[in-house]
Subunit: 437 residues, 2 copies
Amino acid sequence: MSNLDMNKKIGIIKELLKQIHRGISVEELKTKYSQVLMQISPIEIPLIEQQLVKEGISIDEILKLCDLHVALFRDYLVGRELKDIPNGHPLDILVKENDEILKLSEALGMYITSISIESDHNKLNELYSKAFELAEKLYRASRIHYQKLQMVVFPYLERFGIYAVPRVLWGRENEAITKIRRLRELLRNRGMVNEIVEIGKAVVSDVSELIFRESKILYPAIWSIFSEGIWKAIYEEFKEIGFAIKIDSIWETHENPIYPWQIEKGLDEQTIERLPSEIKTVALSLQQGLKFDAFKLIRDGYIDLDTGYVNVDEIKGIFRGIPIELTFADKDGRVRFYTKNRFMKGFARVKTLLGRKLEYCHPPKLEPTIKKIFEDLKNGARDYYEFYSVIGGRIVRVLAIAIRNDRGEFLGALEVVEDITEFVEKPEEIKKRIMIL
Amino acid sequence: MSNLDMNKKIGIIKELLKQIHRGISVEELKTKYSQVLMQISPIEIPLIEQQLVKEGISIDEILKLCDLHVALFRDYLVGRELKDIPNGHPLDILVKENDEILKLSEALGMYITSISIESDHNKLNELYSKAFELAEKLYRASRIHYQKLQMVVFPYLERFGIYAVPRVLWGRENEAITKIRRLRELLRNRGMVNEIVEIGKAVVSDVSELIFRESKILYPAIWSIFSEGIWKAIYEEFKEIGFAIKIDSIWETHENPIYPWQIEKGLDEQTIERLPSEIKTVALSLQQGLKFDAFKLIRDGYIDLDTGYVNVDEIKGIFRGIPIELTFADKDGRVRFYTKNRFMKGFARVKTLLGRKLEYCHPPKLEPTIKKIFEDLKNGARDYYEFYSVIGGRIVRVLAIAIRNDRGEFLGALEVVEDITEFVEKPEEIKKRIMIL
C-alpha cells in the first residue's frame, strides 16, 4: 500500500498541518489529499506524528491532525455495510466512542513521546500532568465502552451460540484496561521513563487493535444479526451504563425491546452466511453449527422483580443469605417482615413481633424518636437516618430507610443493621486484603 | 408486718446461718422458721445481709442464705394462682429466671458493701473482680429475661389492648439495664466507691421491684389470659431468644402455636374480671374497655416468607432500599436476579445479564476462579467466599454466598457487594458517632 518512503510521508503530513493551520476543513483535506493519503496506512499516522514531536513541532499543532487521522482511520475501518447506521443508533454510538478512544490514545502517545525527549523541568511537569489527565480520560472512556459490549452486546451473541469472539474480545479489553490503569499509575507517580514509553506504546497499539477488531468483525456481525427490537433493548441498557461521548441525536424505534432470554430461535443459514469470515469460519467448523442457548428465564411460580425472576424459595434464601439484618414496617407502621442471617446478629427479633406497632418495639423512652423518624421517612422529609451503635459487643450501623415503589409512593420503613466491627477495628488489615481484579 | 426490731431479725438470720452451716436444707428451715420468718419482709433480707457483711461475716457464708431468701421471696410473691404452673412451662422459666436474677443482684449487693468497707489492697482486687463478674452475669441474665417479655410476651398483651402495663414495665426494665451496665463499667474501671455503692443499691432495689411487679401483676395476668396455643408459640420464640438459666424439664403441648396476629377476638368480661387489679382498674377506666387490636397481618397477594408477609411491591422496594448490591445466580449458574440501590454502585449490571451464564459475566482470565467458587458453594466445600476490592474508587467487600433452602438444598450463589469506604477510611470518626441506646 505504501510506496512512498517515510520521509515523503512526513513531508505530506507537514504540508497537511500547514493547511489545517490555515483553517481548511478535515472534509476538504480528505477530498483534496485522498490520492496521497491512500498511500499512508492509518496505522502509520501515529508513528509519523511521534516523529514530528521528536522534530520539535508542538503537540498542540500536531493534535489538530488527530481529527483527520480519526476520519481516515474510520473510512478505512468502517466498511460499506455499516454506512447506513442512523445517527444516534446504539451502534453509531459505539463507533463514535471508538473515535474518541482513538483520539485520546493518540494524543496520549504523543505526550509520552514528548516526555521521553523533554529535559526542561517545568515543561516536563506540564507534560506529565497532561499525560496523566489523558490516561485518566482514556481509562474512563474505554472502560465504559467495553462495559457496554461486555454487559449488553455480548449476552446476545452468547444466546445465538457465538462465544469465541466475545470471549476473545473481553480478554483483550481486559488486558488493555489493565495496561491503561498501570500507565495512569506510572504517570501519576512519575515512574521510569523507559517503562512509561514501553507501556504507552502497548496501550496505543492495544487500543487501535481493539478498534480494528470491533469495526471489522464485531460491528458488521451484530449489524447483520440484531433486530430492531434487540437494538431497542440495547439502547435502554446502554443508557444504564452511560456513554464515553456526548449523545446529541436521539434514536427512536417503535419496536418493543427484545432481551436475550426473549429470543426463541438461533440464526438461520442465510444470516450465518452473511457473517464476517472470522465468525462464520468458527460457526461452520462446529459440529452442530452455532448452538442456540435456549435457557428459559421465566417459569411457573417465578416472581417478576423488575430486575429478575425468582421463586419464593429463592427469595427466602436470599434474605437469609445477605450479611445484614432487616426489619420492615409497612406504611401503617406495622412490623411485617424481618430477616435473620448466618453472618451477624443485631437486635432480637422473633415471630411475635409480626403485626406489632413499630413504636412498641422499642423502650418507651425512644417512642417519640421512633415516631418522628417514621413520620419523616413517610412524608419525605428524610430519605433515611443513619446511626452507629453497639449490640452484644459488636459495632453496628443502623439505617432507617424510606421504602417507596417506583411511583414514589411510601410503602414503609426498613431498618438495616450491619456489623461493621471488623472494618472499623482493623481497617489496615482490611486494606491489605484489597485485590484489584 | 415486722414487729421484731432489726437487731432481733439479725439475730434470727445469724441463727439460720448456723443451721445452714450444719447442712439443714432450705425446705426444712422454711418450715421450722416459718413463723419467725413471716415477720421479716423479704425486702429486708438484703439489708440484713449487708449488715452481716459489715459485721465481718464472710460473704461466702452469707451467700448460702441466698437460696433461703429466694425461696422466701418466691413464696411471698408467687401467689396461689400461679402454684400449678407445670415444670418447664414458659412461665415457670420466667419465674425461675427471676430467682436467678434475684440471687445475682443480692450477691452483687453484698460484694459492693464489702468493697465499701474493705481496705486491704489484695482483698479489694478480688472483691472488684468478683463484683464485676456478677454484674456481667446479672446484665446478661436480666437482659435475656426482659427481652423475652418485651419481644414475645408483650405483643400478646398489646393485641388484647393492654398497653400500660407492658409499656411501664419496659420503661423500668430499660432503666434497670442502663444502671446495671453503668455499674458494670464502674466496677471494671474502679470508679468512685460512693457512686458504686449508690448505683449498686439502686440496681438491687430496681431488680427486686421489677421481680415484684412481674410476679404480682404480669404473671397472674398472662397466666389467666393466655391459652395453651399462645404458650406454645411463646415457648418457640423464647427458644429463639435464649434463657438465663439451664432448662432441665421440657414442656410439651399438643396445641398448635397461636401468634398475636392469629388471635381474633379480645378478652371477655369474665376474663377481665379475673385480672390483677392493676390491669383491671385501667381496663375498666377506659371508655370502650380494652381495645382489641384487630390488625390483619395476612392479606390477599401477600407472600409468606417464614419471617413475615409482604407483597411483591414491598419486596421490590426492600431490595431497592438495602445499602448493598446483590446478584443471584441459580443452581445452574444462570444469573436470575440483581438489585440496584440508592446508596452505592458496585459492578455494572443491566437487564441483558438475566439468564446469562455466570462465568461469562467476568473476563476470561477469571473464568476458572468463578467456576471453582461456584462449585465449592454448590457442593458445600465452602459456605461463602470473602474478597476486598476497589470499584470506581470505592473500597468494597465482595461476598459470594451459598444460598440454600431450609432443607439445605442448594438454590444458587449470591454475590453481595458492600461499600465499606467510610468504615475503613475514617474508623475513628465512625466510632465517635456510636450511641448506646
